[in-house]
C-alpha cells in the first residue's frame, strides 16, 4: 500500500527542480562543514567529538540528577520550571499564562521542539497569534509548511517561491531580490518584536550548574525574542541538559562547525532567569518548559539511548544519500534525515513509523559526521529488528531457513532455479528494474557443480 510518506517520495523524485535545490544546498553545507573541521582548521576535532560523546553519555546516565539540579538553579535565579509529559501540557501551560497576562501576540525563535508538538497550530486554534521570526521559519509559516531541514527550514525554496508567498500573504509587490525580501521581513518582524507580549524560544543546551538556557543563532531573532517581550518561555526536550557551563567549551566548538561551518555562530546567548535588579532590560518573567513527549521511552535501552545525545546540527541530513534524494518533507515528522529516522520511531512508537528504519542505505556517512558520535546505522539496525514482520515475509524467511538447513533440497532448488531464471526477468518488479539495466545470465554450471568437478580432478 502506498502511504503519504511514499507518495511524497515519488513526487520529490519526479521534480527535477526540487532535486537540484536539495542537492546543491546540502552540498554547500557539506563543503562548509568539511573545511571547518579539517585537520588544519580544527586539529582538536576528533578529541572533542570523543569528549562530547562522553559528556552526553554521562549527562543522560545521570539525567534525573541533572534535571533536579537544573531546576533548583532556575528557581534560584528567579525563573520557573514547568514539566510537561506531552504536547497538550505545553500548550495548556502557554494558553493559561497568555490568558492570565492577557497576551495575544507571541514571537517565536527557531525551535524544533515546538515543531515536534505543533505548538503554533495549537496556539492559533485558541485565538493566539504566534509569529515565527527566523527568516526561513517565517517563510514556511506563511506557506503553512513544516521545516524542510533541521538547520535550513526553507532549503527547498527559491527567491521566486519567496516572492510568490510574500505577494500572496503580505500583499506586497512581487520582488525576487533576496536582500529586499530579507529587509521586508526585518521591517515586519521588528514591529512584531516590539509589540509582542510573550517570546517563545527553544534551547540548544540546558546548563545544569547554572540553570541557564543557551541559544545559538545567526540572525539576532532569538536575542530579540528573549529580550523584547516581558515574558520569555523556553521550550526544551529533557535531553538537552549538559552538566556545566564549561562543557560549552566542547559543544559550541562542534555545533557551529558541524551545522554551517562557523567556528561560532554570530550570536550565542547564555540566559539564566529574568532580568536582575539593576539590569536595564530583559524579560520580567522566565519559564523553562521541560518536555518528555516520548523521550523517557528511550532511557531503558542502553544502546538506543544514544539517540538522545543529538545536538541538532543537521550534518547527518546533508551527507545522507537518502535525504538528498527524498528531501525533508518525505519524512513523517518534524525531524528528517538519519536522525529523524531513529528518533521518530522511538518517540512516537515504532508502529507509527514502521518504514522509517528502512529509509537508509546503512552507508554510515551519518555516523562519520556526527559531532557527538551517535552510531545511527546501529540504532537503525536495532529498530529494524523491532519492526514486526509481515506474515508473508515471515513465511518466506521460514522457507528460506528450512532450505538452507537441508542441503539436498537446496541443491535441487538451485538447479531448478537456474533453469527457470528467465522467468524471474518477466515478473513485474524485476521487469521494471531491468527496463533500465542488464542482468548477466547465470553461468552454465553452479558453484556446487564446479566444486564437484574440481574434487574429481584432484
Amino acid at each position: 500500500m502506498i502511504d503519504a510518506f511514499e507518495k511524497k517520495i515519488g513526487e520529490t523524485l519526479a521534480d527535477p527542480a526540487l532535486q537540484l535545490k536539495i542537492y546543491t544546498n546540502t552540498a554547500t553545507l557539506v563543503d562548509k562543514r568539511k573545511t571547518a573541521v579539517s585537520e588544519e582548521a580544527f586539529p582538536e576535532y576528533q578529541e572533542l567529538r570523543t569528549k562530547a560523546n562522553a559528556l552526553k553519555r554521562h549527562a543522560i546516565e545521570h539525567l534525573d540528577l541533572y534535571l533536579e539540579q537544573f531546576e533548583a538553579n532556575v528557581i534560584a535565579h528567579g525563573g520557573k520550571v514547568i514539566w510537561c509529559r506531552d504536547a497538550t501540557e505545553v500548550s495548556d501551560f502557554v494558553l493559561n499564562l497568555a490568558k492570565e497576562r492577557q497576551a495575544k501576540l507571541i514571537v517565536k525563535s527557531k525551535s524544533m521542539t515546538t515543531e515536534e508538538i505543533d505548538l503554533n497550530e495549537r496556539l492559533e486554534h485558541h485565538g493566539l497569534e504566534p509569529v515565527e521570526t527566523d527568516l526561513g521559519e517565517y517563510i514556511i509559516q506563511l506557506r503553512h509548511e513544516r521545516p524542510y531541514h533541521i538547520v535550513a527550514p526553507a532549503l527547498h525554496l527559491t527567491r521566486h517561491d519567496v516572492a510568490d508567498v510574500f505577494t500572496e500573504k503580505l500583499g506586497i509587490p512581487h520582488d525576487t531580490v533576496i536582500e529586499n525580501q530579507t529587509m521586508t521581513a526585518r521591517g515586519l518582524l521588528r514591529e512584531k518584536f516590539l509589540a509582542a507580549d510573550i517570546g517563545i524560544s527553544g534551547a540548544n543546551f540546558l546548563v545544569a550548574d547554572s540553570g541557564a538556557v543557551v541559544l545559538v543563532e545567526n540572525e539576532g531573532n532569538a536575542r530579540l525574542t528573549t529580550t523584547a517581550p516581558k515574558i520569555h518561555i523556553a521550550v526544551a526536550g529533557i535531553e538537552k541538559i549538559i552538566p556545566r557551563a564549561q562543557d560549552l567549551g566542547v559543544f559550541l566548538k562542534l555545533l557551529g562547525r558541524s551545522a554551517t561551518g562557523q567556528p561560532l555562530t554570530v550570536y550565542t546567548s547564555f540566559l539564566s532567569g529574568p532580568k536582575r535588579t539593576g539590569e536595564i532590560d530583559g524579560p520580567e518573567e522566565f519559564y523553562l518548559v521541560l518536555l518528555d513527549n516520548g523521550r523517557t521511552k528511550l532511557i531503558a535501552d542502553e544502546a538506543k539511548r544514544q539517540s538522545l545525545y543529538c545536538i541538532r546540527c543537521g550534518a547527518c541530513l546533508n551527507i545522507c544519500p537518502v535525504y538528498r534524494k527524498i528531501g525533508g518533507h518525505s519524512f513523517p515528522w518534524a525531524y528528517s534525515g538519519p536522525i529523524g529516522a531513529i528518533i521518530s520511531p522511538q518517540f512516537l512508537g515504532i508502529d507509527h513509523t514502521p518504514k522509517l528504519p528502512f529509509a537508509s542505505s546503512l552507508c554510515g556517512a551519518c555516523a562519520d559526521v556526527c559531532p557527538v558520535k551517535i552510531d545511527i546505522p546501529q540504532v537503525l539496525l536495532d529498530l529494524r529488528a523491532e519492526v514486526s514482520k509481515s506474515p508473508l515475509e515471515h513465511r518466506a524467511f521460514r522457507i528460506f531457513a528450512w532450505m538452507m538447513t537441508h542441503p539436498a533440497i537446496y541443491r535441487l532448488s538451485a538447479k531448478i532455479g537456474l533453469k527457470l531464471f528467465f522467468l524471474a526477468k518477466l515478473a513485474p518488479p524485476a521487469k521494471a528494474w531491468l527496463s533500465q539495466r542488464d542482468l548477466p545470465n547465470p553461468p552454465e554450471k553452479s558453484f556446487t557443480d564446479l566444486w564437484k568437478l574440481r574434487a574429481k580432478k584432484s
Binding site: H58, W83, I178, R223, Q262, Y267, K275, D281, T296
Partner: protein, 205 residues
C-alpha cells in the same frame, strides 16, 4: 495523581536503573592569551570593520567618521564617558529607564557599547547584561560600535569559560557576538543585518 515532574523523573530513574553516581568527565580547557592583532584580524574576517586607537581622541574621531551623521545611543559603560564619547554630537546616553532606552534604540542609527571581554581566535565580543550595558544597545540599531579595552582580550572560548565559569552568577544574559547579524535562509545567499546590526565596528584601545 502523580505530577508530570514525578512521573518523568521516576520513568528516568526506573529506565536508567543506575547502580552508582559517577562524576562528570573532566573537560580540559586550554586557555591561551589573545593578541589585539589576532582579534582584529578575526573580526575583519567575519565581516566587521576594525580600528586600533592609542588615545581617546583617536576613538572619538573614528566614531565621528563611522556615524556619518547618524544618531547614536551609547551604553552606560564608564569607559565611554571617560573617552568623551557620551559628549559627542548626536550621541544620546544615560538611560536608566527601559521604555525610554527602547524608544531611543528603535530610532537610533547606531548603538555604542564596550565589551566585557573579547575572544581573539573567533573575533567575538562578549557582553554581560548589567546596569552599565543593556542588551538592546547592541541589538536594535542597524549598526553597532564596540570599544574594547586591550586588557579585555582573551585567547578564546576556553579562556572565557575559565575566567567566567558560571556566567549565571553574574548576569541574566551573557551574549557572544561574532560578526554582523546574518542569514542564508533564502538560497544560502548571505544577507547581513536581518534582525540584529548588519554593520559592526570594533575599536581596540
Amino acid at each position: 495523581m502523580e505530577t508530570a515532574r514525578e512521573e518523568i523523573l521516576s520513568k528516568i530513574r526506573t529506565g536508567l536503573n543506575r547502580k552508582q553516581d559517577e562524576p562528570a568527565p573532566a573537560v580540559r580547557l586550554k586557555p591561551y592569551a589573545g593578541t589585539p592583532e589576532l582579534f582584529l584580524k578575526r573580526v575583519h574576517a567575519v565581516g566587521g570593520k576594525i580600528s586600533r586607537a592609542q588615545r581617546p581622541i583617536d576613538v572619538r574621531s573614528y566614531i565621528a567618521d563611522a556615524l556619518q551623521g547618524r544618531s547614536a545611543v551609547a551604553s552606560n559603560a564608564p569607559l565611554l564617558h571617560e573617552l568623551g564619547i557620551t559628549a559627542m554630537e548626536g550621541v544620546k546616553c544615560g538611560f536608566r529607564n527601559y521604555t525610554e532606552l527602547r524608544e531611543a534604540c528603535s530610532k537610533a542609527g547606531v548603538g555604542i557599547t564596550c565589551a566585557d571581554y573579547a575572544l581573539a581566535d573567533t573575533g567575538t565580543l562578549v557582553m554581560l547584561s548589567s546596569r552599565e550595558e543593556a542588551r538592546i544597545v547592541s541589538l536594535l540599531p542597524p549598526a553597532h560600535i564596540a570599544v574594547v579595552a586591550k586588557n579585555r582580550i582573551l585567547g578564546g572560548l576556553d579562556e572565557l569559560l575559565t575566567k567566567v565559569p558560571k556566567p549565571g552568577d553574574l548576569t541574566s544574559s551573557m551574549v557572544l557576538i561574532t560578526g554582523p547579524s546574518r542569514t542564508g535562509d533564502i538560497e544560502q545567499i548571505l544577507v547581513r543585518g536581518v534582525h540584529g546590526p548588519g554593520e559592526i565596528h570594533v575599536i581596540v584601545l
